[in-house]
């Protein structure tokens, strides 16, 4: 076992444990903090896979923006969640059963899949970010996703602001 594998196992264990805490913590704010730890773990795994750019983006977008947004939303809707009583549905065991079932199914499919024993590729060249940037605005490659992403962000912004800004004289 190489050092890389040991680090991976450790990080994966922490990530999964904090993910479990996210779905089981009673206090919403604690769940959000566990979510932050879990997202950070995923960021480290990206770094282990030589995708440094996405490590940084994961921290920037998920921890810096989405987690903060979630924390704000928790604070805004706080009265309803005085953190008493069960935080799970009555049928939570059904959900657990479904999750375990899906996991078992995925595991079986993955292990029986012939491609699973592939060895790692050559690894990324140092200039991959440059190539990525070029391809993003190349009309023969990914200019569509590029522009669609900005339209999608625009739509999200307009929609979210429309919903969340209180209308003057609107129904309360």
């Amino acid at each position: 076992m190489t050092a890389l594998q040991i680090i991976f196992l450790f990080v994966a264990a922490v990530t999964l444990a904090s993910a479990v805490m996210v779905v089981s913590a009673r206090r919403m704010m604690h769940a959000a903090l566990w979510l932050v730890l879990s997202l950070a773990g995923v960021a480290v795994i990206f770094a282990l896979l030589d995708a440094g750019f996405f490590t940084v983006v994961q921290v920037l977008v998920y921890i810096g923006a989405i987690a903060i947004l979630i924390i704000f939303a928790i604070m805004l809707t706080r009265k309803a969640m005085e953190d008493v009583g069960p935080q799970l549905n009555r049928g939570w065991w059904l959900a657990a059963l479904a999750a375990v079932g899906v996991f078992a199914g995925l595991a079986v499919v993955l292990v029986s899949w012939p491609g699973v024993n592939a060895s790692a590729g050559a690894g990324p060249d140092a200039n991959l970010i440059v190539t990525f940037g070029k391809d993003l605005v190349d009309p023969h490659k990914f200019v569509m996703p590029f522009e669609v992403a900005s339209v999608m962000l625009l739509a999200a912004l307009i929609g979210a602001i429309y919903v969340s800004v209180e209308h003057k004289g609107g129904q309360k």
Binding site: F53, V137, D138, S150, V151, L154, A156, I158
Partner: protein
Amino acid sequence: MEDWLYIGLFVFISIALPAVAIFLAGLLSPKKPNPIKNTSYECGIETVGPSWVQFKAQYYVYALVFLVFDVETIFLYPWAVAYNQLTLFGVLEAVLFILILLSGLLYAWKKGALEWM
């Protein structure tokens, strides 16, 4: 990979360093709590109601606009890195990208979402 090892260690150390300092100071410092000392600080007045107050939705809107502009970095930074090797068309594509985002900002502005209330 070596760079990332260094970064990981550096982040770990920059959390550990203040942690060690705080721990050491905890050993040195006196511990004499009493009920009055341990109450929440509210300028000498007794705390009324729950101390986790609810706050304005306005903060949420700022965070929202921030999120949108933050995600844009995923696309704009690689574009900026490749900038010197692009054609004019490639540059104009990104200008269009920014213009679309800018129109979102203008919408938020017109809607009054950016006002401090």
